[in-house]
């Protein structure tokens, strides 16, 4: 009898759990630190057409590959003033992550690299310790009729004091990568 009574109690309690289960839908999470967009705007010294490089990946860690666009072509042997914009366009209005990076500029640094010696880059800004950040940079293009890859990397918590890091050499920088995009550019 006792066993039957216990089974009845058990069924009763299980049904209470069933009754009070939470049927509310979960809230959607819009990722706060998601970076969807990297945009580099390059303005030639002494006037001319600007070049815009853009990589957009709206599904973040989702399976879709970033869409990479290069608007414009580079002139040979020309210095371009570059500005980087890092955005989260999954939010509306888009969140400007560049501002957060500049707020914590001692902990961030961009690195630029090129294949086929198509160009070189130098820093044009500094954090409060006098080390480069890379949101503002200068790009000097190489010879005409060449093409190659231009890679922009953002490192979080790099060791800015390590050898050659302040000249833009990533080898000893450590830290973790927050952004890494490669643009195929052409110099006409």
């Amino acid at each position: 009898m006792k066993l039957i009574k216990n089974i009845v109690i058990l069924v009763y309690i299980v049904s209470i759990f069933a009754a009070c289960s939470n049927n509310d839908d979960p809230v959607i999470i819009n990722e706060e630190e998601l970076i969807t967009t990297v945009r580099a705007t390059l303005i030639p010294e002494g006037g001319g057409t600007e070049v815009v490089l853009e990589s957009v990946d709206l599904d973040g860690d989702g399976p879709n590959e970033p869409t990479i666009e290069v608007l414009g072509t580079f002139n040979p042997n020309t210095t371009y003033a570059g500005t980087l914009q890092i955005l989260n366009e999954a939010e509306n209005p888009a969140e400007d992550i560049t501002l957060e990076i500049l707020e914590e500029d001692e902990e961030h640094q961009f690195f630029f690299s090129f294949t086929n010696d198509i160009a070189t880059a130098t820093y044009d800004d500094a954090d409060s310790n006098g080390n480069p950040v890379g949101v503002q940079f200068n790009l000097l293009t190489g010879a005409a009729d060449s093409s190659g890859g231009f890679t922009i990397i953002l490192r979080h918590e790099p060791d800015k004091a390590a050898a050659d890091v302040n000249t833009g050499d990533i080898t000893n920088a450590d830290g973790s990568t927050d952004v890494q995009v490669t643009f195929n550019i052409v110099i006409e």
Binding site: I13, P26, I29, N30, D57, E65, P66, T151
Partner: protein, 637 residues
């Protein structure tokens, strides 16, 4: 780890309660205070069915000390200090019991460790803070009794800083580097990445014996598990966890043991359980594990029979019903990439721009069974044989994982189509025992249909660069293993012990070796004991772990844009063999009639050997622990 099985394939019972924490990954250590355990046993036969039908590996039963029914008051304190991690732990327990059968006991443990050290460098951010408390009371009489139990465990665990990886290029750099990439000075500070886990458990049980019939037990338990994982984040989110899960589990069970006949006992039981997981949306990071509710119902019967003086038989069968109801957001792109749009579009309940809200509901029916026989051939030789059928429903991470697991730097993808695992296991052991020699040889063969595993399958490109993708898959697997344990008394004071184990795992479905099978190892110990010298013990232990040569090759080439080259990403190669030498000694001194002190000294990894272990996820990033001196003082009063 039991016979190559861990995590969801092993049930952990602590003080009669099935531990319900987020035990999905190999890196998630169980949330128990090991100091509260007086006895740890592994059950694999029919009697394991009482605890669950899904224990493909087995059941680990952690039991507290027995209650003595007499007027008594006693306590125990253990103080431990160690050089590696420059840490200490303190454990105290006190028990009071009366001859009427009432008892109460309380236990508490504190631990604090700083950064641990490998032989050559500090393992930055690997400290640990732990606090645990438990109290138990009850009445223990022959005819009836009850127990009430409460326990609280909180662990704050640092995660090796150099294991925090930005993208696949960082991962390749880390794997190809011999040393850990981030080494700072020793510190007790635990920074991100880290985990904070709180586990609380309340249990009440009641039993009553009926003359010429048996014993009835009813038990209810409630567990709350809170898990926070902190990642390295920027700006305002710096101190916000990236994972914030709250898991509540209720369980009500009852069983009746028919034990009126001396040569046979039967046990029948029922269990009902409800579990709810809530993933806090305030993390600002997409949920790795979704919100879900889970209902389980189980029914079992076990019989133990003494056939004659030398033969025992055990039989058991169990049915489990599992129902899971989850609500989860998927990127529409992921939904299509997984081909869920072909089979599961009817699960969609909401459209949120780039994401779907879906409501998967899955039901599983599982049958498990076991039959075992033990036979004594003569006073020295005996053997047993066991066959077990076990079914395990996929866990939430195997079904629902979706996205970047930041602390592991990999994209983990579950599969809604994952079926339940079915294991057919046969095992046999042979025992030889005389006054000087004690040998056991155990063999097992386990055939698992739909064996669920995770392996690297490729890369996916994000704005942060490429990440390795680890997919949950299922296959047919065969596991075979041998365990040998040989104890030999050489003289009255000197003894020798050899423990050797070997496991081979085959992925039959894909015609290759199975991933994550522990390497063969052999452990040899020479011990000396002398009771006249204050119960003096000394043991020198040699532990040799072979290289695991049988592993699937999941390596692939990755294009590195910065160097414009293809580089091999070697996630598969196994670490070299290694040999560790350990030593421990202890002696017990009587301080007064009721008080004695045991002093123990342990040295692990005496030779300060550099090694990495195949099943340690951190093996890609740093060497394992170096030499460690541990001094322990144990007071009993």
């Amino acid at each position: 780890m039991i016979n190559g099985m861990h995590s969801s394939r092993v049930i952990l019972m602590t003080n009669g309660v099935r531990l319900q924490d987020q035990e999905w990954g190999i890196e998630h250590a169980p949330n128990i205070d090991i100091n509260t355990a007086e006895k740890i046993t592994v059950i694999k036969g029919a009697n394991a069915l009482e605890f669950g039908g899904d224990a493909i590996g087995g059941v680990i039963v952690v039991e507290p000390n027995r209650i003595i029914v007499k007027d008594s008051l006693y306590g125990k304190s253990i103080l431990t200090g160690q050089t590696n991690g420059r840490g200490f732990s303190m454990h105290s327990s006190i028990s009071k019991s009366t001859k009427e059968g009432y008892y109460v006991n309380a236990k508490t443990t504190f631990k604090k460790y700083g950064d641990f050290e490998s032989p050559n460098y500090i393992l930055t951010n690997t400290g640990l803070n732990s606090e645990a408390f438990s109290v138990q009371t009850g009445l223990k009489k022959f005819e009836s009794g009850f127990n009430l139990y409460y326990t609280y465990v909180k662990n704050e665990i640092g995660i090796l800083k150099s294991s925090h990886i930005g993208n696949i290029e960082d991962l390749i750099n880390a794997i190809n580097s011999d040393a850990s990439l981030i080494v700072n000075d020793f510190s007790y500070a635990i920074n991100s990445p880290k985990q904070e886990v709180m586990h609380q458990l309340v249990k009440g049980d009641f039993y009553k014996r009926f003359k010429k019939l048996g014993k009835l037990t009813v038990q209810y338990d409630f567990q709350n598990n809170k898990r926070f994982e902190f990642d390295i984040r920027v700006g305002d989110d710096r101190n916000k966890p990236a994972i914030d899960l709250n898991l509540n589990s209720h369980s009500l069970s009852t069983n009746f043991e028919f034990n009126s006949k001396s040569n046979q006992t039967y046990k029948v039981g029922l269990v009902g359980a409800y579990q709810n997981n809530f993933a806090n949306p305030n993390t600002g990071v997409r949920r790795l594990i979704p919100d879900y509710s889970k209902y389980d119902f189980g029914l079992f019967t076990i019989g133990n029979f003494i056939l004659d003086d030398n033969t025992r038989l055990d039989l058991g069968v169990r049915y489990d019903f599992n129902y899971i109801n989850a609500k989860k957001f998927y990127y529409k792109s992921r939904w299509d990439e997984r081909s869920y749009d072909v089979e599961f579009n009817d699960l969609i309940i909401g459209d949120f721009n780039t994401q779907w809200l879906v409501n998967p509901e899955f039901t599983y029916h599982n049958i498990s069974a076991s039959v075992g026989v033990f036979h004594r051939l003569n006073s020295e030789n005996s053997f047993n044989f066991n066959y077990a059928l076990a079914n395990r429903s996929p866990n939430p991470s195997e079904l629902f994982s979706d996205g970047l697991h930041h602390s592991a730097a990999r994209i983990e993808l579950g599969d809604l189509r994952t079926p339940q695992e079915t294991a057919n296991r046969i095992a046999t052991s042979y025992y030889f025992q005389n006054t000087n020699t004690n040998i056991s040889v155990a063999l097992f063969f386990n055939h698992i249909r739909n064996f669920i595993y995770i392996e690297p399958t490729g890369t996916e490109q994000t704005i942060r660069g490429a990440f390795p993708v680890w997919d949950y898959k299922s296959t047919t697997a065969n596991l075979f293993g041998v365990d040998v344990n040989w104890k030999q008394k050489i003289t009255n004071r000197i003894n020798f012990n050899n423990k050797t184990s070997f496991i081979k795992g085959r992925d039959v479905g894909n015609g290759r070796n199975l991933i994550d099978i522990p390497a063969a190892n052999t452990q040899n110990t020479v011990g000396y004991t002398n009771k006249k010298w204050h119960h003096f013990n000394a043991n020198l232990e040699s532990n040799f772990v072979f290289k695991q040569n049988l592993f699937p090759n999941n390596n692939f080439e990755v294009f590195i844009p910065t160097t414009n080259s293809n580089v091999l990403l070697d996630l598969s190669s196994t670490p070299s063999s290694y040999h560790l030498l350990n030593f421990n000694t202890d002696a017990t001194f009587k301080v007064s009639q009721k008080t004695n002190v045991t002093i123990g000294l342990t040295v692990t990894n005496i030779l300060n050997t550099n090694y990495r272990s195949y099943l340690n996820r951190l093996r890609y990033f740093a060497d394992d622990l170096g030499r460690n001196y541990v001094l322990q003082l144990k007071f009993k009063y």
